[in-house]
Structure formats: C-alpha cells, structure tokens
Symmetry: C2
Subunit: 709 residues, 2 copies
C-alpha cells in the first residue's frame, strides 16, 4: 500500500479544545512540564497520523464521526428566527473535519460558512458516489408546500438519527424575495439551515459576483455599440489591440474570435483592412440585444427602462430592462458547470444579441469573457453550512425554476456525493412542481452532470391537494378558506387522484422510484393523512409517509428517511424523456404531451422563426428548458388538478447558449401587456407589498434585534 | 495585579507548524510516545499562558512579534501582478496572532483576508493610541502620483525595517476602475497589498452590501410612490401595520416616525383618520428625489435613464440615474460611522427626497432603515490583509474624494491605532490632492472620529511638479512629452514654488508637521530630486525625502520612515479650519479662500435657496464636503500650479444628512451638458475605452492565467 507523498507534508492544522473549566485548571499546574518543542513535535506527529488515517478512510468508506447538535423542540413551535438563534452552530471547520474535508480544502467565510475547493473532486476521484435523492413537489399553492423543509428534515433524519452520511444541497435564495413578501428560504420550524440570517443575506457573495459579471457584459454591449458608431476601423483596432512598447499582440480571446471569423492569422500587422473591419465591428443590432441588466432587489420600476439619455452617450438611446439577478444566464451557468474550465467556456459562449447581418454575438466577441471568469472564480466553489442538527449542507447557485432549470449546482452535488461515499445520501431540491423543477433536473441537469438519481421524494400537502381537488382559491395575504382548515376527505381524494397521481406518473416515466412525503400541518386530520398515503401507494408510489420535521426536526422524518433508504436500494432504471438529437419542436412537444398532459403544441410564427434560426446556428441539439407557470400543469395558472384537452401555446423561443438550453416561452400574450403574468415573474418578481411593512420589514425587523449581539 | 477572569477561559487556538520536511520525519518516529490527552492538556496550558501574556502585553506595550516576509527585488521591476504572485502571503490568522488579535476577534474570508470584530475596541479600550499619519498629495496629473504605493512602502519600512508596529489603512477600490482604464489599486511595484486579485475584486463583499442597501432604498422609494398614488389611507395603513393574529402593532421604526410627526401614540387603533393619513403618506415629490440607484461597474449608459415604463407601474415614469456604488451615501456612512449603533442611526437619517409640502423624507420614513442595517452588519468590520513584506493592512470603505470625503474608515483607523499601541504608527491615505482629501480628512473625518493626526506625508512627483511649473498637457493614453522624460530644473522649480508650496501651507494651517515624500521615477535625475527636497524644506516642510519603495520595497522608504518617526515625536498643534457652528456660507468661503486660494465665492440662486432650506431644517452645523475637480486647486481643471485671482462658483448645494455633511457643487454648468465634466466623474467614471481591450481586459487577461492555480 502506497501512501501518497503529499500526505506527508505537514499542514496548518486547527485543533479545537472543549471549553471546560475543569481541564483548564488542571492544565495550569502542569504548564512548566511541557517545553514548546515537544508540543510542536507531537503536534506534527499527530498531523501525519491524521493524514494517513484520512487516506485510509478515502479508500475504505466509513461513516463520518459526525457530532449532531441536540434539538429539544418546543410546543408550540416558536418562530423560525427564534429557533435558529436558540441553536449554537458548531464552527464550520469542525463540521468540515467531521465529514472528512482537509483543512486546505476549506476557505472559511466567518465562523459559520466555508467555501469548499474543487480539488476535493480530484482527491476523492476513486471514492464511489453515494445515493442521489431528488426532492420535488406536486403543483404548489402560491404559499409553497415546503420542499426546502422536507429536504432539510430528511437529511437531519438520515444523518442525526439513522447515522447515515448525508448531505443536503440547496439553492442560495435571492435577496429580492428575502426582503419582499416571501422572506427567507432556509427551511422552517425545526428543519432549517443555520444561522438563517447568514444563509439569507449575502452568504459568500456568489449572487453579488453574478450581478457584477452580468452587468459588466451589459456595460460592454452598450459601450461597444457607441464606440463602433463613432470611430473608424483603424481607431477601434488601435484601441482593441494596443501597442505596448511598440508591439501589438492579440489576446487569446481575440485569436478565438479571429478563428470564428475564419481568419487564421496571429500577427495583428498582417490583417487586411477588410479583416480588420470584420474583426473590430461586432455590428450589434440594438433592437436584437437579448442581454438584460440584473439587480438582486425586487425593483419593479427597473423592469422596463430607457437608457443612454445623457448627452455623452450621443443619442444611443434604447429600451431595455433589469431582471432579478438569479435569472441571469450566468446563474444558470454556475449551476450547470462542472469545472472552472467548463464555466469559462460557457461564459465565453453566451450569446448577447444578433448582428445586423444575423450572426450571434457572444461574450467572447465582446472581449469580456476573461473578466467574467475572474469575477466568478470564487463563486464556483460551493458553500458549506449546517442544519439545526449539525449535519452538512451545501448552498450553491439558485436559478429560478421557471426561466432557468431551478436546481442547485452540479458541482455541489458531485462534491457531496463523493463526501458521503457509498451508502451515503445526497438530497437535492428542484424548484416548484415536479412538472417543472424535476423534469429539468432530469433532462437538463442530469444530462449535463452525468449523474443518475436513485429516488424522487415528492412533497405534497393536504392544503395543496384540497386545492387540486376543487377547493376555493388560495392566495398569499388572504386568510385560508374553511375548507383548508376543517377535515374534507373528498377534496383531498380529488387532489390525490388528479395532481398527485399525475406527478407520480411523470417521475415514473424517468424510471425512478417515488416516495411521497406528506408535509403535515397542524390542521391536518389523521383521516386526511391516511387517505393521502393510501392513494399515493395505489397510484404507484414506492411508499408514502407523513413527516413532522417542522415540529420535531429530524426525528419527525425518520419514517421518510427509512423509506428513502429502502427505495434507494432498488435498482433504478433511469432514462431521459427525449434524445438531445431530436428536433427542437419534437422535444417541446414531448414535454408538453408526456409531462403536462397537453394534446399538442401551438407554435407562434415568431417561435417557429427562432427555432429555424437556432437550428441554422447549430443549437438544435440543446435540451429544452420550458418557461411556464408553476401554478398549473398547464399554461393556465387557474387550471388545477391534472388538466387535459388543451393545446400548449409557445409564443416565443429563446436560447441560453452558454448555459446550454433552449427556452420556449409558454402562454399567450394577454391584451394590454406585452408579456403574460408569469413572465413578469421571470423578470422581476411581483411583490405588491414591496416596501410596505408587510413586505420589506418582517425579516429585517426581527434580524435587527440580533445586530447588537 | 488582577488577571481578568475571561482570560482564563480556554479558546479555540490555531497553531502553525513550519513546513520543513526534516522536523516532520523526526516526528514520525516519536509519535507513539505522546498520548493525545497529554497533548491536549499541554495545549490548553499554553492557551492560558498565552492569554495571560497577552493581557500583560495589553497593559505594557511591546513590539509585535511580526515575521516579515523577505523581499528580493528584481531589476528591471516586473509587472505588479508578477510581483504579487511571486510572494507567498502568510495565512491571515497567523498575521492576526502576530499583531495581538485573539482568534475570536477574527472572521476569516478564505486564507488571505479576515474581518476584524469591533469588540476589539472594548478589549483594548485602555491601550494608548499610536501615532496617526496621513498620506496626502500635491495636485495630481490624470495619471496619479502614487499615494497608495507611498502609503504601503512607508508601513513596509516602518514595520519590516525599523521594527515599529505599524498599520496601513486603505480604501477598497471600486470594481468600475478595476475593469476600466485605471486597473487595480493595491499599490504597485514592490509596495503592494497581496494578493492583489483578492484586494481588487470582491474583497469581503462590502461594496456589494452597499449596492444592495442603496438599491433597496431606491426600490422602496418608487414602490412607495406607486402605492400612495393608487391606494386609500386605510388600505395603506392595513399593509403598513398588518394584523398578526388579530393584533396590529407599530414597529420601533414606525414609532420613531410617529414621534417626528408629533403623534405620541403607540396603539395603532387609537390614531385619528388625519393622523393615519399623515403617518401613511410620505407624499414624496417625484421631481425632488435625490436618491439614485448605484452599480459597481462603469456603465455609462445608466447615467441618465427613464424608469417605470412597464404597464404594471401605471404610468409612474420618471427620469433618474445610476451612480458608481462607492459614491453612495451609504459608503460615506460606512467610512464615518464609529459603531454599529452610530451606523444604524446615520442610515435612518439619510434624506432621500422632499415631500410636496417641503419636508425631508428619510430612510426611516420609508421603513427600510432596519433592513439597511441588517444588510450592512458585516460590512462595518474592517478587512485585514498584508503588504508584500507581511505587515498588516486594513482595507475598509472607499468613498470618492470629490463627491464624498475620500478617506478610509474611522473604525479601521481606530482599531489600528489600538493594535499598534503607543509608539506604533497608523498610516492612512486621503484621496486626490491635499486641497480635497486632506482638507476633508481634517475637517470631516477627524471631527467625526475625535482622532488627531501627528504627521502629514505629502506625496509629490517630478512629473506632476513639472506640469505645475508650466509643462505641457499630460493625459492618460498619450505618450508623455519630452519635458517629462529629460531633466528640466526650471519646470521642477516652478512646480515646487507654486503647487507644492501651497499644499504644504494648507497642511500647516491645521497645525500638523509636513514631510514631503518624492515618489521617484526612473527618469528623475539626481539634480531634480535634490532640488525638490531643498525647495520643500525652504517652504516649511519638516523634511523632504526621495523614496524608492516601487523599486525596492520598504527598504527604499527607510529614510522617509525615519523622518516620519521624527516628525511624529514633535508636539502637534492640530486645529480645525472652521467651527461647525459657523454659517454654511462662511464655512464654504473659508475653504475657498484659505485652502484653494480664491478671492471669494459666487453662490448661484439655487445654492443660496438650498442653504436657506438646510438651515431651516437644522442641518446648518454640518461640516462642508466640497465637490470639486481634483485636477486643480481651483475649479478650473486646466489651471495648474497655485491659481489666484479667481472667484469660486458654487452652482448647487446638497446634503448627505446621514453621512453628516453638506456638499457644495463647485463649478459652472458648461453649455450643452447639464453637468460639468467633474460631475460626470461624480456619477459614473468616464472610461472612454471601456470594453475595448485597453479598458476591460488588461487586469483580467493577466488574472485569467491565475485561475487554474
């Protein structure tokens, strides 16, 4: 057995002493007996021993030496913030040591968060992956059905109660909703990521980095149009390829552009004047710029704006808008990249608009792809945090599930699968209903990552099932109608037979066993709970169980954890829903019919034209990322249950070439507005109460009390 | 002698082992002799011993046990990035230990940066402050004269060569210039902060936090105007003071607003309908909103925009603009706050606009002041980094010196002054020429902090002196005329007798000794260098010395360091230039005449009206923060040397009530544009090459090579 020589190198090590007064007093008396030299020698010895034993651990998988944090749930359940603050998180480097990370693989951001270096993937290359569990949901009410809490509760149960290595992989929340109506996204009750304020606020700056990178592209686009409009080919060339000590040299990025133009030259002096013109002029059509600026704030007044109105911009005025930062293509790229190199290439490929002659213009053409990679070089490392029970969580990336693919990052999942090792579990969450988040998880994320899921956990609530069974309208801010508070078995049964059944069937088309997790509310009756579980099993679920993580923490999800463990031991027959080489239209139709239950699709002329253009540009084999409402299986938010007999309208099709998907916009344009309601959400989230007390202050009012501590 | 009982509490300790293969091999053999129990006991003993000795250190000042990093400067001097990357920084927690920080006072952000907790100020409360040194400059060329490199070179000399505890306090650079023409701001040559990419990019997220906070205010302003325009008093009240479980309650922020309105009630049910109306309606005049959005990118197209053009915003369209993020009032507040409480109060006081009835509307009125404090709670902690020679640096805050006061934070200076202790040195930098940055350092920053400076280091270059002596025009991007490359003693003498002499005199008005630091370029001749030093002494400088930190690191600034040490031992007779209770107009006139050399000031009608309004609102005793070009002592950028015989035009006056200053806009409006060139700079920095290769790529092209390491 060879021990890699690198393990013999001593490293900076961190030792934690349990703060007990007793040992401390003892130590005072013995201080003179220990010269420092001995201590250092002994300490180094310990390092080497640790390195060796770690190496052995890597080879022969063993359970973590995780020290769970004790939970003593109170009744009634206090507020999320009270629960979060009542628990003392362990130092993140202690958690890291417990789960087998080496100190040099960790970059701490304060006490409670740390980025994990991607070099871990190389070190654990030969380690077998753990089991891969996806948490998805039935079609939700506008209030959300608790997928995040189920995810966190499940890993608390797996790790702290069943003593199985397990990791939750969550998305970083946008600060828009955090300061809007929705509030934070750290889970809730006794199933949370802590400290919740660090989770919900800046975290380790990834969304800020995305914002900076996205807006650098935007600034470059408009500045470039201005420069091309006001300068000669020669002047542009002199600035693009400046003379440094009398020598002009192309950058690697520029050589890449020359290749795409079919110019195989590397000496700037050798270009003909036509080649110089082709090289310096991107000739962007201002009307065909698809790149928007972004802001991580619910700033509705930026949705549609006119820019360039200062006289210095010489009349280059145009209409554009801001999106919420997590809707940036750069966020989607962060979520799908599987290495730094892959991220760099995807950033370079991003298409920002079209030239007057109809050619796509990329971030690399703009010359900013290097700057983007530099701005994103830390964001690519997932952030380690912990649950209320001291079990590990990765927080990384946070694309929305409607405009983008709605899943946390490929890299976080890959790192976690190696860290849990064989027999361990990684639980990752897909946004919104299974028809959106899960479908994209399978067809886009798993296609990009090469990872294969073992189990789908489908989250349902009695509340949402009653809605699908014909219950009255549910909306945020209004009191729930009585039907949702009193027992009503027929509404529950209706919802199970329609939406729940359909969502189970969708998962089964991918060949993955489904465990239904009923997220129990205090108003649910035993008869309602039993009915849901019974029907779910009848509809083909591997198992169905009520979970009480919100009130009890991991202990309340032990039965779910056991069912997941059992389901994961079955062989999975995973398959994609479509081949990537299928024509774009067929891919869209397949999703519409087999997932949403549509009879057919109806392509607008614009959509058809775009598809032809994308085929011609060579984007035809990209997977499809449907931009559709999350409030119905169909395109009509009010159609609950499992709608049938409808044709799915595709009004436009766009491409995120860097992220690597085509996204059709589903739905028709309503009269009087240029986009449908769900597209508003794609842009900047609607939060009508924004800035009013019920909007901006709840989280901050609570957090403000914590500031002086 | 009592040892405080808290020192007996064992703490998490970090031990570093020197990475020598030899000791490591030794250790392997002896591993079995050391049971772990002994090791832990010994380790704890060591903790206690350390705690006691630290406590002693706090009482009886001793030099740090700083381990400087060795520098071996090369000739010719390599690029800044090559130099930065050739040096291995020590782990930031090792540096922290060397300078007497406790582990619990540190929040690491990766290996090379750490935020320092403000609790340090309490622990070192009784420690005497070190000497306080300000680095300012003569009026610069557009290329900059190297104040940052002088600052870094000086602390390298003081710490690593004279073995005196010393700290540099620098501003965090904006990412706008970083990706624009200017590039980074970490110093240069062998006087730099490392790693330069971490210094120049996101750092620890403070500017991102400011951006988020600033734009939350902006979103709240427009959303509030929309809600007030479309809802009844009752509906607004219901949303602002929502019923939770049947009970309505005011937040502390709302009670504060009620007090300002003269309503001394705390029960929401007891308000009359008139009181409800007064409470819910801020009645902001859209034409009198002074709050702008910000972005940390040089995005010139956002300087003037129209927002609210989507139909959902119901026609509430208005013209506004984006500033560069560091121009936000929140940045000025971060720089001037001296505690979390003080920052919270300043954020609440920020005035965002005026109501139709002429009342100022604050962030607290908008109900977002709590949210702002939460967003800024980590940004208030300074970031610790190191120089190329391993000496400590605080990076904190970065307001521009023209629109704001151009100095790093009060808190960084205060923490550093305690850490260096008596006989130690804190070197802090003020932006642009002494007429701007230094004047504001004294009259605004020192007034806010209560700190008193001991020495001013005035940075000059032969290049800038020749310009002031009548040399030809200098501009970025064009080759330097011959006069600046060949020896020209008469131009040098002219610059010394005009601008240098005047800047020395300005500093002397504040009663602080001046040491002139001539930042030597390789084209400077010995005769030129000698002439500058001679005239500077004749003009009243305590001393004047050439420095070669760029080529040699700290060793090249030892003579400067010795002169600074000597000057600091003299008693300082610091005094403000004006009393805060002097009328606003008199304060402006005093600065114009005694600092800039103007005959008088000329107030526009608008400026006079604003001053009357501010007096009436009770802002009359705020200090003055002149918004003036940095390219001349006067308001005319082309007037070099020491202009006389001019009247300073004040075209408008504004107030940053939260930051705590009145800022007059100096200069007239040029024909054809709505603002003068320097105001463009106040908004978004002009960077004409932006997005072209000479603009966006230089830093990133170099950094990109470091990505894979």
């Amino acid at each position: 057995m060879d021990i890699p020589s690198t393990w013999l190198r001593p490293r900076a090590e961190i030792i934690y002493c349990a703060p007990t007064q007793e040992t401390d007093d003892d130590a005072i008396g013995s201080s003179s007996k220990f010269p420092l030299g001995y201590l250092i020698a002994a300490h180094r010895t310990q390092n080497v021993v640790r390195s060796c034993s770690r190496w052995l651990q890597d080879q022969h998988y063993r359970p973590w030496r995780l020290h769970p944090l004790k939970l003593q749930p109170l009744t009634p359940v206090p507020s999320d913030l009270e629960i979060s603050r009542a628990q003392v998180a362990k130092p993140v480097d202690q958690l890291a040591t417990e789960i087998g990370l080496l100190p040099e693989e960790l970059e701490s951001y304060g006490r409670n968060k740390a980025k994990v270096r991607l070099s871990l993937l190389d070190r654990l290359h030969s380690q077998p992956d753990g089991k891969y569990v996806l948490v998805a949901g039935i079609t939700p009410t506008p209030l959300g059905e608790g997928k995040s809490t189920v995810t966190v509760g499940l890993v608390q149960a797996l790790s702290a109660h069943l003593k199985l290595n397990s990791f939750a992989c969550l998305r970083q929340p946008s600060q828009g909703p955090t300061f809007g109506v929705k509030g934070g996204a750290a889970g809730g009750g006794y199933a949370q990521v802590i400290p919740m304020e660090e989770f919900n606020l800046h975290l380790t700056g990834d969304i800020h980095a995305i914002t900076a990178a996205n807006n650098l592209v935007a600034a470059a686009i408009d500045a470039r149009i201005l420069h091309e409009a006001t300068q000669s080919d020669k002047a542009l060339f002199k600035r693009l390829v400046p003379s440094v000590n009398g020598v002009r040299k192309f950058s690697p990025i520029q050589i890449s552009r020359l290749r795409r133009l079919g110019i195989n030259k590397t000496d700037p002096e050798s270009l003909t004047s036509q080649e110089i013109s082709n090289f310096v002029r991107l000739d962007l059509d201002p009307k065909k710029i698809t790149w928007q600026r972004v802001v991580d704030t619910n700033d509705r007044f930026l949705r549609k704006i006119t820019i360039g109105q200062a006289s210095t911009e010489k009349g280059q005025i145009r209409e554009t808008g801001f999106d919420i930062a997590v809707a940036s293509e750069i966020m989607a790229i962060l979520a799908l990249a599987d290495s730094l190199e892959d991220m760099k290439n995807r950033l370079a490929r991003m298409v920002v608009g079209t030239s007057h002659s109809g050619l796509p213009v990329t971030a690399e053409d703009l010359g900013v792809s290097g700057a983007l990679a530099v701005l994103m070089k830390d964001a690519i490392k997932p952030t380690l945090m912990q649950t209320l029970e001291g079990t590990p969580v990765f927080v990384h990336a946070g694309p929305f599930a409607n405009i983008a693919h709605g899943n946390s990052s490929v890299l976080a999942d890959k790192l976690a699968l190696k860290l849990v090792g064989r027999d361990g579990f990684v639980v990752t969450e897909a946004g919104f209903g299974a028809d959106i988040g899960m479908e994209k998880f399978f067809n886009i994320k798993c296609r990009a990552s090469g990872l294969r899921p073992n189990v789908v956990v489908l989250v349902a609530t009695v509340r949402a099932l009653k809605m699908h069974g014909g219950g009255p309208h549910v909306s945020a801010g209004s009191p729930l109608p009585r039907e949702y508070i009193d027992e009503n078995l027929s509404l529950v049964a209706g919802g199970c037979q329609s939406n729940l059944k359909k969502q189970i069937q969708i998962a089964q088309q991918f060949g993955v066993p489904v465990v239904v997790a009923l997220n129990v509310f205090k108003t649910d009756t035993q008869a309602e709970i039993d009915l849901v579980c019974q029907i779910a099993r009848e509809c083909g679920a591997f198992d169905a169980l009520p979970c009480n993580h919100w009130a009890q923490g991991g202990r309340g999800s032990v039965a779910l954890a056991q069912a997941v463990k059992q389901a994961a031991s079955k062989p999975s027959n995973f398959q994609f829903l479509y081949h990537s080489e299928m024509p774009i239209v067929e891919k869209i139709r397949t999703i519409a019919q087999r997932v949403y239950g549509a009879d057919d699709i109806d392509l607008s002329l614009e959509a058809q034209t775009k598809i032809d253009y994308y085929n011609q540009q060579g984007y035809g084999s990209l997977p499809i990322c449907m931009a559709k409402t999350h409030l119905s299986l169909s395109h009509m938010p009010d159609k609950k249950g499992a709608p049938t007999g409808f044709v799915l309208p595709i009004r436009d099709v766009r491409a995120s070439v860097g992220a690597g998907f085509i996204y059709p916009l589903v739905g028709t344009v309503s009269a009087g507005t240029s986009t449908t309601p769900e597209l508003w959400f794609l842009n900047l989230r609607e939060s009508p109460n924004y800035s009013l007390n019920s909007g901006a202050e709840p989280l901050s009012v609570k957090l403000i009390h914590t500031l002086n501590s």
